[in-house]
């Protein structure tokens, strides 16, 4: 199980839970698992999120491995200039 930290707006969507647990070995599994377990997150997941895994930023790479003890934080989708 991976602990996933949610930002405030996502937490409010699922009854103020700021952390959830998901069975996932990769980023793709994580995003899919979240959408399935927490349908209220789906609109935001569809709009796009960025994910910090152990302090580094990821956007789309489904097969990025996630370890059981990885720190996983969902972030609003990031864009640069």
């Amino acid at each position: 199980m991976v602990q996933v930290r949610l930002w405030g707006s996502l937490a409010s969507a699922i009854g103020d839970q700021t952390e959830v647990e998901i069975e996932a070995g990769t980023l793709g599994e994580l995003l899919e698992g979240l959408a399935e377990r927490y349908p209220a997150l789906r609109p935001q997941l569809d709009r796009g999120v960025s994910v910090a895994i152990d302090g580094l930023l990821y956007n789309d790479s489904w097969f990025t491995p996630i370890k059981e003890d990885s720190e996983v934080v969902l972030l609003a989708r990031l864009e640069g200039g």
Binding site: A52, L57, N59, D60, E71, A76, L78
Partner: protein, 749 residues
């Protein structure tokens, strides 16, 4: 000449990376030979011009183009009716921004376009297009747009995060942070509560948008344009015009500045449509006034901050509510402002709330660290005011609260190795910090943070028969990146810098490349370049092994040559890259390395800026006297261009702090659409900008590189405001700090 000093904290010895060779495109750019967006022409080319809305908000009841079409010399007229529907919401907004649909949403919004044999005919044709508008009430201010009863731009765009009962102009709400704000504030010796406001500013690139489009009836098309990302242009135009991506080849011209403003399309789909209808190539070039009225400025904002501090300078809680208007469509960078606002600090209790709001202004486009400078202005001003109030050293207070490796960031994750503390300590030890100040002079500091990104990247590295190297990459060179890429390739291959030529490919020559944004190029394209060079090295080792008749595992690459290594490899003299290249046909064919990746894992970066100003008590005019940037670059590949990024970001931030602003009249039209009234800093406004490059390697990059292009615009707004406050004794909370505002504040002191 010493241009700033440099501290090396990385271990690896580099031969080329970290030196300052001449950029390969330098001669073209100092002789006028380099071709930018407006410098290309084609046989039979027509001139394309756009008709723009004079209204801030109006329903378009009808458009009659028949008289324009009948004019001799006019070859095509285009309106929204020529374009089909687009499914993806963001792309549909882009189309609507390029050519208005049911409503004109801001002063300058495109409503029709013509292609004609000459500029004069095209201008005349624009006058013959009859648009019947029904003017609607408009709103350009973020707070007014949020108020119930404000004129509404779009119905039904609000998402599920927005509470019921708010204006439909409020698109979304986001919230970040951890801990308990009220409990934290209760522990403070003082809680400061302030509202800050910033005005929209434009990226201000000197080159207006320009393109040359040629599209045939078979759907094949070619497009030349100045852009930060020609793959983005291809994909967006293909979606808007219903083309297959592979049929549209986009070539990026040299680009005359972008800063985020050229990460979307404005003219390109229109030029393609005109070309298709006219059956001729069409060139379109914006005027400066069009650039300011109709291309993306950044957001304007209003921000409430509450920060609690103990009298020894510890921040007990930080709260900010940020309201950003991003023009006529959803997508202001408020989420990034909300995530970055308190990012430099290690806080137990922190919360930010962000509101994305639409108004009757041009659609915002990314501007260097989008959203972050505004948020930093508010938070860094408040921290400074608290520190000053307790009589504390503002650098010490920042050091006391600084985020470090292991700190949980205000936006969620735990930091790995970061350089904020190093920038603060270096700033404190720098002679600038203790230099004497005269009357009416002051000194300010501020910190800044930016994420940096990676993204899709694709490069190909080819070894020519004579042993020189061509590196083909897909990101326009906006500030010397050809040089950095050539350096990384040369470093990895162990050959001289001038043996590598870097070429920016068109969209037909490489796979997908993300736009030049998010400070990603040196990081991501650099990473792909290094990997492509490694692939080429492996192949060259294989070829040498074949020639020597030994195992390929027994061959290593060192100093630009293959060498046998290990106990059973045998004795062979090293085979150089040139030697291997010369016999490539005999050993298996041409040699190349390529690498394709979604380069994720970019590292964040931090900066501290220090600035001295002098405030004229008679006029309120502010003069910047001295400026020093301290920033972590991870690893500076070409220090000259890293310094250049630091200096350029600082200068833009100074302009934002002191002069630049979008001014709207009562009628919602832009009052200052020219460089005369929209005043960006000129040479005589600025001092030298000193730089100190720190190098705390990014663990996510083979050479430790972090993005450097954006962080440098984050601190200056606050640093300048803090300096002005130190100089004048008054605290201004609204940008820009224009002379009348400063004077009024001094007089009411």
């Amino acid at each position: 000449m010493a241009l700033g000093s440099k501290r090396d904290t990385s271990k690896r010895d580099f031969k080329i990376v970290g030196t300052r060779p001449l950029r390969p495109d330098g001669i073209d750019k100092v002789t006028g030979r380099a071709r930018y967006g407006a410098d290309m022409s084609a046989p039979g080319m027509l001139v394309g011009l756009v008709l723009r809305s004079p209204h801030a908000h109006a329903r378009i009841k009808s458009i009659d183009t028949s008289r324009a079409e009948a004019l001799t010399g006019v070859h095509a007229v285009v309106t929204r009716a020529d374009f089909g529907d687009v499914e993806d919401a963001a792309t549909a907004d882009t189309l609507d921004n390029c050519m208005a649909g049911a409503k004109a949403l801001y002063d300058g919004h495109a409503v029709a376009a013509v292609a004609a044999a000459s500029d004069a005919v095209a201008k005349q044709a624009l006058k013959l297009i009859e648009v019947e508008y029904e003017p609607l009430p408009h709103v350009t201010d973020v707070d007014e747009a949020m108020a119930p009863g404000a004129p509404v731009l779009h119905e039904g765009r609000t998402d599920e995060t927005v509470p019921q009962g708010m204006s439909a102009n409020v698109i979304s709400r986001c919230q970040f942070g951890h801990g308990d704000i009220e409990a934290g504030l209760a522990k403070a010796d003082r809680v400061l509560k302030r509202t800050y406001r910033t005005e929209a500013t434009h990226q201000g690139y000197i080159e207006p948008h320009a393109c040359l489009a040629s599209m045939g009836p078979d759907g094949q098309a070619d497009l030349w344009c100045c852009t930060q990302g020609h793959y983005m242009v291809r994909n967006t135009c293909a979606a808007i015009l219903g083309l297959e991506q592979g049929k549209l080849r986009v070539t990026a011209s040299e680009i005359g500045g972008g800063f985020g403003g050229k990460t979307t399309v404005f003219l390109e789909p229109v030029a393609l449509m005109l070309s298709k209808k006219a059956g001729r190539p069409v060139k379109m070039v914006m005027t400066r006034s069009e650039v300011l009225r109709a291309t993306g400025p950044t957001a304007s904002s209003s921000i409430d901050v509450r920060i609690g501090m103990t009298k020894d300078g510890r921040i007990t809680a930080g709260f900010a509510e940020l309201r950003y208007q991003g023009g006529a469509y959803p997508g202001s960078p408020v989420n990034m402002g909300a995530m970055s606002a308190f990012a430099p600090y290690d806080l137990e209790n922190v919360r930010t709330i962000g509101w994305d709001v639409v108004t009757n202004r041009p659609r915002q486009a990314a501007y260097r660290a989008p959203g972050a400078p505004i948020a930093a202005f508010a938070v860094e001003s408040a921290i400074d005011e608290l520190a000053k109030g307790f009589g504390l050293d503002p650098l010490e207070v920042r050091l006391k609260n600084a985020a470090r490796e292991g700190t949980r960031a205000s936006y969620g994750p735990t930091y790995r190795a970061i350089g904020l503390e190093a920038t603060l300590r270096t700033a404190k030890d720098h002679p600038h910090w203790t230099a004497p100040l005269g009357p009416n002079q002051g000194r300010g500091v501020a910190c800044g943070f930016w994420f940096n990104f990676g993204g899709d990247t694709c490069v190909s590295l080819n070894i020519t028969p004579d042993g020189t190297v061509t590196l083909t990459e897909g990101n326009p060179d906006i500030g010397g990146s050809r040089a950095s890429m050539s350096m990384m390739a040369a470093e990895e291959l162990g050959i001289p810098y001038d043996k590598v030529r870097t070429v920016i490919a068109d969209t037909g020559s490489l796979g997908q490349n993300e736009v030049t944004d998010g400070s990603r190029v040196t990081f991501a394209v650099g990473l792909a370049t290094i990997e492509a060079a490694r692939a080429a090295k492996r192949e060259m080792c294989r070829r040498a092994a074949k020639v020597w008749g030994i195992d390929e595992e027994a061959v290593v690459w060192e100093d630009g040559a293959a060498k046998p290594s290990g106990p059973n490899a045998g004795e062979f003299p090293p085979m150089t890259l040139e030697e291997i290249a010369a016999i490539a046909s005999n050993t298996g064919g041409p040699i190349a390395g390529h690498f394709e990746v979604n380069a994720e894992g970019a590292g964040v970066s931090f900066a501290t800026h220090m600035v001295d100003t002098e405030v004229d008590p008679e006029t309120g005019a502010v003069r910047v006297l001295r400026y020093t940037v301290f920033q972590d670059a991870g690893k500076a590949v070409h220090p000259d261009y890293v310094e250049g990024q630091f200096q350029g970001g600082a200068a833009q931030g100074i302009g934002w702090a002191l002069n630049e602003e979008y001014i709207y009249g009562e009628d919602g039209t832009l009052q200052n659409p020219g460089f005369l009234d929209y005043r960006i800093p000129v040479a005589s406004d600025l001092p030298m900008i000193d730089t100190v490059i720190l190098e705390i390697p990014n663990p996510g990059h083979p050479y430790g590189v972090r993005g450097v292009g954006e962080t440098s615009i984050v601190p200056p707004l606050a640093a300048v405001a803090n300096s002005v406050s130190d100089a004048s004794g008054v605290r201004l909370t609204d940008l820009p700090l224009s002379p009348p505002k400063v004077l009024a504040a001094i007089q009411s002191r």
